[in-house]
């Protein structure tokens, strides 16, 4: 079978492609049909008649031009990656939700609270979780000494976060988890609790008691608000 092999084109650019990147496009014509094959330059096609194009040296000028195009492509690609990469990463890493819900919730009319007898009252807080706004039920302990002296305790034990309860016989707050005991003023009487009961911010308006729901870090002596 008679076949003619022509070298169509030859790329030789070790600076940019590395030694292995040289390749040649070869046109093989046999029995009237033709096919184009691409070979890497380290592949030798035996018995071919290399045309002049193969031996033609790419001029230095041409090489430098190509080198510059490659530098340009690389730098601009780097720029694109930088300009897009920073926002893409930052948008995942740091999400801020600056608006905190600092709205007091209405708890109860003051005159319904018994004097010196802690009561646990329910109320609702509005909560924002990213873009979802919801109302959540919460509760708090309210101790009234007089109409002007009212304390509101968070229902969460400062030891490890269990819910304590008022023992009306012993006149003490007792936490069932690790037996921390607090007096009516929230002071630790005994047990592992590192600090007294946490008071919640409150205000009295038009004979109504309002409270601001907050959570505090447990297990440490300081009262630190947990930001959500």
């Amino acid at each position: 079978m008679q076949s003619v092999v022509q070298l169509e084109n030859c790329y030789s650019d070790p600076c940019t492609f590395g030694e292995e990147f040289r390749f040649a496009k070869i046109k093989i014509v046999y029995s009237g049909e033709s096919d184009t094959l691409v070979f890497a330059a380290n592949t030798i096609v035996k018995g071919t008649n290399m045309t002049e194009r193969n031996t033609e040296n790419i001029s230095k000028k041409e090489l430098s031009r190509r080198g510059f195009f490659i530098l340009l492509s690389g730098t601009l690609s780097g720029f694109i990656a930088f300009v897009l990469g920073i926002p893409l990463i930052a948008s995942i890493l740091g999400t801020v939700n600056k608006v905190k819900n600092k709205i007091f919730s209405r708890l109860t009319p003051i005159n319904t609270v018994p004097i010196l007898n802690p009561v646990n009252l329910n109320f609702v807080t509005a909560k924002t979780d990213a873009f979802i706004k919801s109302v959540e039920p919460q509760d708090a302990w309210v101790i009234k000494r007089s109409n002007f002296d009212i304390t509101v305790f968070s229902p969460i034990c400062p030891h490890l976060g269990c819910r304590y309860a008022w023992n009306s016989k012993q006149k003490l707050f007792i936490c069932p988890c690790h037996n921390s005991v607090f007096d009516i003023n929230g002071k630790v009487i005994s047990g592992p609790a590192p600090r007294g009961l946490d008071t919640l911010p409150k205000k009295i308006q038009h004979n109504e008691l309002y409270v601001l729901w907050e959570r505090f870090k447990v297990g440490i002596p300081q009262k630190i608000v947990m930001e959500d």
């Binding site: 096609v45 510059f68 897009l84 920073i86």
Partner: protein, 671 residues
Amino acid sequence: MGEIQSWNTSKNCDGRLEMVSKIWQWINERIPLKIMLQVGLDEEIPGGASFFYTLGSATLFVFALQVVTGVWQLFYYVPTVDHAYNSLSYLRIFVPYGWLIHGLHYWGGNAMIVLIALHMVRVFVWGAYKKPREITWLIGVFLLFLVIGMSFTGAALPWDERGYWAAEVGTSIASTIPFIGGVLESLLRGGNFMGQLTLSRFFILHTAIIPGIAIIIIAAHLTAFRNFGSVGPWSNKKRKTSGAFWPDQVALDIIVVTLILLLLIALSAFNPPPFTGPADPLDTSFTPKPEWNFLFLYETLKFFPGSLEIIGTVGIPTVVVLLLLLVPFLDRNPEHNPLKRLPIILSGLVLVTSILVLTFIGYYSHPPENQQSTKPVINNLKKSSLSVVSGEKVFETYGCIACHSISGKGGKIGPDLTNEWQRGRSKKWIIRQLLASKKNYPNSIMPPYTMLSKKQLSDLVDFLLNRHAPNTVPPVNPSRNADTLLVQKLNKINKSTSKKVGVKQVEIKNGKKLGPPELAAGMIGNIAHGDLLFLRNCESCHGINGKGGISNPGSLSGEVPPLNPIDRGLYNKNPQIFANNIDRIIQHGSTPPGTPALKMFDYGDSHTLTQKEISHLEAYILHLNGVNRAQIETNSFSPEQYFIVSAIILLIVSFLLFFINLYKKKISNDS
């Protein structure tokens, strides 16, 4: 057939290069990376690289950008009707660079259509659709349809006013297609009406089905293109030379792509997509107008009213589609030079120009106003009777208009009084209604207007009863100037009532507490829409643009509080807190100190306004006070800063490249 033998070179390679070479070979024995690179990069371009050929690559880049920014938006966006709008607002306002990610996606989608159009024009002029590239063209046209589909489904996803109504109109248009229209519409909507299922369907079409098909089709388009190569210039002289795809054309592609990216950042920073407010199916004030890329169709529709509409909705689009598909088969002449195939070039030009012209007409046309009532119709009344005129004044200045509307102008709390004269009520009945509404309706919430003088009451009744036929009212003696009379009375009343109001009374009235902010406070409304709603519901009491100056007899201040500038206790720099503050009043109403004739109604609690409408009003009131409801709240660069920083970096990089180029040229000249 030549015998092929592999042979390892290591000439002029140092050890490091040899190492790289070995790794490269190891990889290639396992995966044909080399061949892949060759297929991707090895191409000879007849006539050399050109900026004209960058359009395809630019489209491909923007598509990739759409994929990345689209996926990134999914970190925050949720496709449900109750959260879609708020989740997107959250992304745009609270997430660092969320504005950029959304902005790039929004503008990228628009850029995609422009680039495809330019790419098609380029291919058309160069005759690059001719044999053997007919199917490459067909695949390309199909890609255009997919992108239009993406644009249509994507616009609905924010579930805002614009997207919602565009989808509503679009699916309605689909329903006009003969035979399959009805099925197609309910298929797209997931039922007969727009709703959650519509959003879900649009979402899955936009994020999975269409892009999935598009990726496969793009692969086919590119493979076909690589196979046949670039068609090159039509002049044989230019075709003598040739250039390589890598790195010549790639460098040009990247230059164009970088500039497009910078443009998209600029658009996102300086012309962000508008917040049109959450979708409100009950809203009648929003006039839907399609996205710009559908405007030409929208304009064509106008030429075919009534039963001919189907020509516009189905006929013309089908013809355009067929023309696009048939281009390679209509023009089979192998000639590429556009000057030698003028007929087809001219017909292409006609098509493109008519689309452009229709788009511009559509852009500048205003849809038929269904809200002509926003103009005070009352002023158009023939003013033939003084009592009617002063009655009208009373109606406007004493706050009647806050609750009652006449001819579309005014509040909605009370009954519409446009046709009061037809109800056959006596003058006495109406006066009783004005002075002691509860006598007529025990449950009435209408405040008693005892501060009105007898004259004012009678004028007001005249106005209400004679609106239909002003000419039948006998003329009143013109020497009695009703206007001055009115002003005098007003002053007297103001003085007398403010004396009566004791401090004690105020304190008791003040005891009413406000409820919490409602849903509206968390939604970002649209300022222009808020303006419209303000005009209808609020302006009569709070004054033009909220400037105040409307008297409120009996209240301690004697005036309805102005909203522009608003009470400093309500004002806040933070848009969310500001919105919370005013939301409580708009939702639950409030009574000013004193015994005021006018009080703020509970627009939310009474469902007079929807939560969405209240959100528009809040955006407008914030805007009046110089606060942007859609203020971006992140710690990172502001949009403007980010654009400037990127532009400066690019400038520096370009200068560096320019000098490197100069230096290289100098070196090669020297040697």
